[in-house]
């Protein structure tokens, strides 16, 4: 496309075993007076994902 570059495609549409509940509860991380869940990592992905300094993003 000439005018639009898709950076992330349908990230909320995930297949597979969703809702397994194995990921960290958000308030057990750094936030105790706010609520942020989108920066948590899926526990299933965490197992296969090598931790890097950079955030994952498909371009």
């Amino acid at each position: 496309m000439k005018h639009i570059k898709t950076i992330v495609f349908k990230s909320l549409v995930k297949d597979g075993n969703i809702g397994c509940g194995e990921c960290q509860a958000s308030c057990q991380s750094a936030c105790k007076t706010s609520c942020t869940v989108g920066n948590q990592i899926c526990k299933r992905d965490e197992k296969i994902n090598v931790k890097t300094n950079k955030q994952s993003l498909t371009i």
């Binding site: 639009i4 349908k10 909320l12 995930k14 509940g21 509860a25 958000s26 750094a30 920066n39 950079k54």
Partner: protein
């Protein structure tokens, strides 16, 4: 729904379209940005209207064809895929243990009444702690990864009990096929060498409370005797950071109406040597002198912009610096279930008071109307559990068109209750800041990957 926003970086304006329902992010040129705003009925400023009207009709046609193609692909203006939702299970997976309702500090913004939560000073006994572990195992169903957070007050004032509970939980893990993760939040006053070494060994994450610059920290985070605590806190926290290596920790600060230039506090913490930082806005009733007021939102948003530029620069130079609210993994993030239900308070996440009472989360402890049971009993107040499990992003009216709704999960229920009187009320200041942080997180993720190679 489509959210259009721009981000200024190195004197260049970047334009983005975030498709709220599909979670698609598009970097667009100005023509596409304006055409999208027009197409999706997003208000344009006067100058944007002028520019839009000057666009070549061929360009407008090209852009609209591209927008249409993305709509066809379900990556723009996508319809809501989930209309109703309720948590599938009622299993508990995380407990916040109020190991000590006492504190050796008297912070000006404390939501916990100086650590006692309006319930009087109390230390959790080993019996209560062990019963909490048993309760967690028995109520966790087939969930393997369980979490125990040690909170207070100041948990290191009852440290022997922390150690006993950790040992007890670990002794049961294999038998019950559970994996425990322990976390602890401390003000660092008692974080001596042996304590630091223990926490480094046993805790998957440790949260160290420091507010940033000395004058900011000492103005609010004072000892019981009213002396400042900065020197002891920083010295102890730096020792912990030194031995922590690459394992998880966070320095967590709070900013208030007295330090609305809080980007300087984050930068100070980084300068001190801390590379995992979270500094959050204080949440207090508007009558409190430290509370964040609505008319400060623009100023705070500008601070987030300053901070994001610092963040990008630091990371581009190879530093492993993270700011909690700018972290965003768009590929490996949580599933939609998690995003719809938020923190899990009152369902999968509960807090335990020193006497063993169960509450929806640490901020509800002491609110007797919200007591959900006791760790010595198996049963939980099912009416309350139903109330909490039925609250999702989908049934909060104010979330309906919010671009950050699947990122914040609908917001903090305790904040809603404390500031609006309703579990589903909107804490508007918190929402405004969350939206800004989310836009920055999206833009930063793009810029970091596109510029850094």
């Amino acid at each position: 729904m489509v959210h259009a926003f721009s981000y200024s970086h190195n004197a260049q304006e970047y334009f983005f379209l975030w498709d709220i329902e599909s979670g698609s992010l598009h970097n667009v040129d100005l023509a596409a940005f304006l055409c999208a705003k027009k197409r999706y009925n997003i208000s344009l400023s006067n100058s944007e209207i002028e520019t839009y009207l000057q666009l070549n009709p061929d360009v407008t046609l090209e852009v609209n064809n591209e927008l249409g193609a993305l709509e066809e692909a379900g990556a723009l203006n996508a319809t809501k895929t989930i209309a109703t939702f309720r948590k599938k299970t009622q299993h508990v997976k995380a407990l916040c243990l109020h190991i000590c309702h006492d504190c050796n500090m008297r912070c000006g913004y404390c939501f916990a009444d100086g650590g006692a939560y309006n319930c009087g000073i109390a230390h959790m006994s080993r019996d209560v702690g062990f019963a909490a572990v048993d309760f967690l195992i028995q109520n966790s169903g087939n969930r393997r990864n369980l979490e125990i957070d040690f909170f207070g007050g100041e948990p290191l004032l009852n440290f022997d009990t922390v150690k006993a509970i950790v040992a007890y939980a670990k002794s049961l893990a294999i038998k019950h096929n559970k994996q425990f993760s322990f976390t602890l939040t401390t003000n660092c006053i008692r974080l001596d060498k042996s304590t630091a070494e223990y926490l480094n060994r046993e805790m998957s994450n440790v949260v160290l409370s420091i507010d940033g610059r000395r004058k900011v920290h000492d103005a609010v985070r004072r000892a019981v005797c009213e002396n400042g605590t900065y020197d002891d806190v920083v010295k102890n926290a730096l020792f912990f950071k030194q031995i922590r290596g690459s394992l998880n920790y966070y320095v967590r600060g709070t900013f208030t109406a007295k330090n609305l230039d809080f980007s300087n506090d984050v930068i100070k913490l980084h300068d001190l040597g801390f590379d995992a930082v979270s500094v959050e806005p204080v949440v207090l009733d508007s009558s409190h002198p430290l509370s964040i007021k609505t008319d400060s939102i623009d100023l705070i948003n500008h601070q987030y912009e300053i901070l994001s530029e610092y963040y990008l620069k630091a990371r581009a130079s190879g530093e492993n610096f993270t700011f909690f609210h700018f972290i965003l993994d768009l590929v490996h993030g949580p599933c939609i279930d998690k995003r719809l239900t938020g923190c899990g308070a009152g369902t999968e996440y509960l807090a335990v008071s020193p006497d063993g009472k169960l509450y929806p989360c640490h901020q509800f402890v002491g609110k007797t109307d919200f007591c959900m049971g006791n760790v010595f009993d198996l049963g939980l107040n099912e009416d309350l559990r139903t109330t909490f499990s039925s609250i999702t992003v989908l049934n909060k009216e104010h979330c309906a068109e919010c671009p950050a709704k699947y990122h914040c999960g609908g917001g903090c229920l305790a904040n809603s209750l404390n500031l609006t009187g309703s579990l589903t009320g909107q804490y508007k200041i918190g929402c405004s800041l969350a939206k800004k942080r989310f836009e920055i997180a999206l833009a930063s993720a793009f810029l970091e990957n596109s510029e850094g190679g």
